[in-house]
Structure formats: C-alpha cells, structure tokens
C-alpha cells in the first residue's frame, strides 16, 4: 500500500519520554490510547514546574504565591474555553474527569429538572460513564430511559432518534466518538434534532477532543465532557462545558469550601458558576498540565491531527482486513482510529496476552460498555491510535495477530 502521510510520527515521539531510548517502555508499541495517552515532556514539565515553584491554594491565600496559583488555574480554564470555542471561561467547570462531569450533570441538573414520567435518551454505544448516571437518575426520578439502538454496522440513524424523541424527552446523551466502535457521531445534527423536540443534548467527548476539532458553539451542545488524560494531559482533571444559563439554573453538586458566597445559620448563597461547582481544593497542578496538553495539541494542529490519524486509520483498516478470521466491529471505512475486533474463536484476553509478549499493548474485554458488548457478542480486543503511532506500529500489531493465530491455530 502506497499511502503518503502528511505527518512524521517519529518527530512527535521525540516529544515523549515514554518513547525515548532510555525509557523502560521504549520497545512498547502503544496502541491503548483510548484508555489513556502518553504524556509529552511539555505536560510533565508544566506539572512539575507548578509543584516545584508555584504551589499554593487558589482563591484563598492573602499572599503572592496564592495569587500566582489562582492566575495559572484560571488561565487553564480560559485555555479550555478557547480550545472548545466556548463563549466565556465561566462555562468551563473543572472536574476529576469525564465520569465526574457527567455525574455532576445527572445529579445536579437531572434531579432538579428531570421529573417522573420524563424521558432520557442514551445510545446503545455509550461507555458506562455516559450510561450509569442516566440509569440511576431515571430510577431515582421515575423517569424513562430510552435506548437509541445502533445499526448493524455500528452507526446511529437520525431517523431512529426522531422516533424516540417526544415532548417528554429532557435530554439526549451521546458520545462524540465511540470508545469501542470508533464511530464518529454527527453530534451537531443530533443536538439540532434534540433541540427541535425541546430536549437538551450532552456530548461525551472523551474520545474526540485529542483527535479532531471540537467546537461547542458549532455543535450547539448544552453539555460536553472530556478527560485530560486521554488528551495527552494528566489524570485527575476533566472538563464539563455547559451553557452559562444552564450552569446558573443548576443547583450545586458537592458543597463545601470555595463554592459559596454567604454562609449564615439561616442563609446560604452559592457562588456564581463555575466556582459553584468546584467545592474544595481543585486539581490545580493537573489543570496546569491540561493547559500544556492543549497547547501541545494545537501546536500540531487539530486539522493536521485529524488528517494524519485518518490516513493511519485507512492503513490500519486495510492491514486488519488482511488477517484471516478477523472480524472488525464498527463502520468501515468512515471512522476514528479505534478498532475493536475478534479473531476467529480466540478469546480477546488470549489475543492481548500474545500481543503483550511481543510488546504490542492493546486492551481486551468489554471496554466499560457492557450493553454494547452484549450486542457485539461478548468481549473484544481493541487497538486505538494516537498522533505518535505510525505504520510500523500497525505492522507490529498485524504480525502479532498472525502469531496468535499460529498458537491457537486449532482452537
């Protein structure tokens, strides 16, 4: 196959200690990026520099260090707002990750605005992070959870959504990119349909922010969540974007320090958003690291990342389809670089072990999406790409899959 690639992944790998000659992991072909990405020097140094030279609590101390920490933390918020094309930094709430962001919406917005008999629509391809909060909310409120089924090739059909939406629908919860199928969902069109029916739309962007441009205003989503660690940033930091009016109308999530204006025995006045949703000391160093991660992404350019990963995905699809008995789930060819597959009757766990002994790191299992796993017939093996992967990595994966077939030949 003679594809020309618009980016040199070797150049990108130079920015990551994980791939350097002195690293213990240098020989690892890392294809578990949907679980978490590796971290560039820029992120590690930003975090380390913060702890070493700027550590103080935010919005509190009557001293210069506290002011500097606050400045860095708020600069990270402004950077996220810019990255997502939000209207203002106040639309950005820092959380521990996507999971906490969606739990916040389900608990605080959901319990205030979803009543008995109302409906919430979730897709069949959701990760548990965008599924369980809604299942629990529906149970708690006596609301109905409606499932938007996928097509056999792993897509969502907008006509099916039309049939599910009613005047009782309060929210449609959908992932931008499926963490199993690699499907890129038409989130702008989904938001538009939801709005036309009087419902809101929440987008789980955990698998997309590092891989293609995400624009909350163009999408017109009401809520959007993502995690830092799947976007070259630290663990322990995530983002909830929500339209300002929604954040104002939504009651607080956790309560405690930093999220309140007036506390008297007879009177409580919450702080304005986003502080209202950030009780306690926030993940300050992690926010600084996220800031650096977004700078890393934009220095390459999200259009350039999307283009390169599409080229590499095309190469991977072609090579995967050469492997006898390999069954790939999800749409072909129009998809992101996440490949869940089965290989004959070889169990995915066994595939992963054989690949691991050849230093090819993939994931196997149900990928925190059990209902989707049931639909697909059980566990799958999953390889997932990031900007530092290249054709050599795909080739190593394919070679290792042939090895697995050899070992389990008679199974």
């Amino acid at each position: 196959m003679t594809t020309t690639f618009t980016l040199d992944a070797r150049e990108i790998r130079r920015q990551f200690p994980f791939f350097q000659p002195h690293s213990e992991m240098r020989s690892v072909v890392y294809l578990d990026n949907a679980a978490t990405t590796q971290k560039p020097y820029a992120v590690i140094e930003a975090v380390s520099n913060f702890w070493a030279h700027h550590n103080a609590n935010v919005h509190r101390g009557g001293h210069g260090a506290g002011a500097k920490a606050s400045e860095l933390y708020e600069a990270a918020r402004a950077r996220v707002a810019q990255f997502l094309n939000a209207r203002e930094p106040a639309e950005i709430v820092f959380t521990r990750g996507t999971t906490e962001a969606i739990n916040l919406v389900a608990s605080s917005w959901g319990e205030a605005f979803v009543k008995a008999g109302d409906e919430i629509i979730v897709t069949e391809m959701e990760h548990h992070a965008n599924l369980l909060p809604w299942m629990r909310l529906a149970e708690k409120q006596g609301a109905h959870l409606k499932v938007w089924r996928i097509t056999d090739d792993g897509r969502l059909n907008l006509d099916d959504l039309e049939r599910l939406l009613t005047e009782r629908t309060r929210l449609v919860a959908v992932s931008h990119i499926s963490n199993v199928l690699g499907t890129v969902n038409p989130v702008a069109a989904i938001c538009q349909r939801a709005h036309a029916a009087g419902a809101l739309c929440l987008v789980d962007a955990a698998q997309s922010v590092a891989h293609l441009p995400v624009d909350v205003r163009a999408t017109d989503c009401d809520f959007l969540a993502f995690s830092g660690h799947k976007a070259y940033g630290p663990t322990g930091i995530g983002v909830l974007y929500a339209k300002r009016a929604l954040l104002e109308a939504t009651p607080p999530y956790h309560v405690g320090g930093g999220m309140v204006q007036i506390v008297r025995w007879d009177r409580l006045v919450w702080a304005e958003p986003p502080a209202k949703f950030e009780a306690g000391t926030p993940p300050i160093g992690e926010a600084v690291g996220l800031h650096a991660a977004l700078d890393f992404i934009d220095a390459i350019g999200r259009d350039a990342i999307e283009r390169y990963e599409r080229e590499l995905t095309a190469y991977a699809l072609e090579r995967l389809q050469e492997v006898p008995d390999l069954r790939l789930h999800g749409p072909i060819p129009d998809r992101a670089g996440i490949f869940a597959f089965s290989l004959g009757e070889i169990h995915p766990h066994d595939i992963a072990t054989v690949l691991d002994t050849r230093d090819v790191a993939i994931r196997s299992g149900l990928h925190c999406a059990h209902p989707l796993g049931e639909r697909l017939g059980g566990a799958t093996a999953r390889a997932s790409l990031a900007i530092y992967n290249d054709t050599q990595h795909i080739d190593a994966l394919i070679d290792a899959l042939h090895e697995a077939r050899r070992i389990f030949g008679r199974v």
Partner: protein, 142 residues
Amino acid sequence: MTTLNELYQEIILDHYRQPRGRGELEPPKITQEGFNPSCGDEVILDLRARDGRIEDIRFRGRGCSISQASASMLTEAMQGKTLDEARALIQQVLALVKGEAEGDLDTLGDIAALAGVRHFPVRVKCATLAWHALDEALEQLG
C-alpha cells in the same frame, strides 16, 4: 520453554478445546457464578455434595482459554473430593498461579500446567475465577 509457551501449554489448550465437566446438574444442587466484569469471563458451577463429599460438579461459561481450561481442570479434580480436601486444593491452586506454591507439584496432575500463569499477573484472575467460585459454593454448604 518461553513464558508464552509455558502459559499456553498443550494441556491447557486441550482442556480449552475439549472441556471436561461441561454442563449442568439437575437439582438438588448448589449453583455459584463467577464473573470478571472487566473482561467478561464467566464461569457457572453446579455442585452436588453428599456425606461431606463432592458427588458431582459441572461448569458452564464463556471466556478466555485460561479461565475455561482452569474450570475444566477444576471439575475433573474435584469429583469425589471431601469438602476439606476441596478447600485445601483451592488454596494450593491459588498459591500455584501466584507463584507461591511450595512442595511437590506432581500430585496436582493437569492442574500443574496452570503454574505458567504466574508470569502473567494480569491473567491470574482468569485462572482463579472458577476456584474462587467453588470457594464461595463451599461456603454456601457451610
């Protein structure tokens, strides 16, 4: 022998391809499910005990070669064992797959092949799934 060949020994693959003790029992019986939520491995044990002995034991389930071969070996090894012998064997196997086994492995028969799992910490849960399920089933017996 490479660690991979030690893990996927012919005995293991043979139990995976042709599982022994696969099936269900008619009541009276005790049923115990073992499930690993991260990978989806599943083993369901059916067990009938009489006079302090395992009279019959069968398994159903789906999952990787290690989890299913291990369950197959378990049903073979447990037929007719007293409950005390069964408990002792469970402990011996748990130690074996964690690389903590002491003494003579010859008495273990096919089960000794599970020792290869000790090089693969992420696979220990696969190998122990059926044995933990049996442990819980024996607790039901009291």
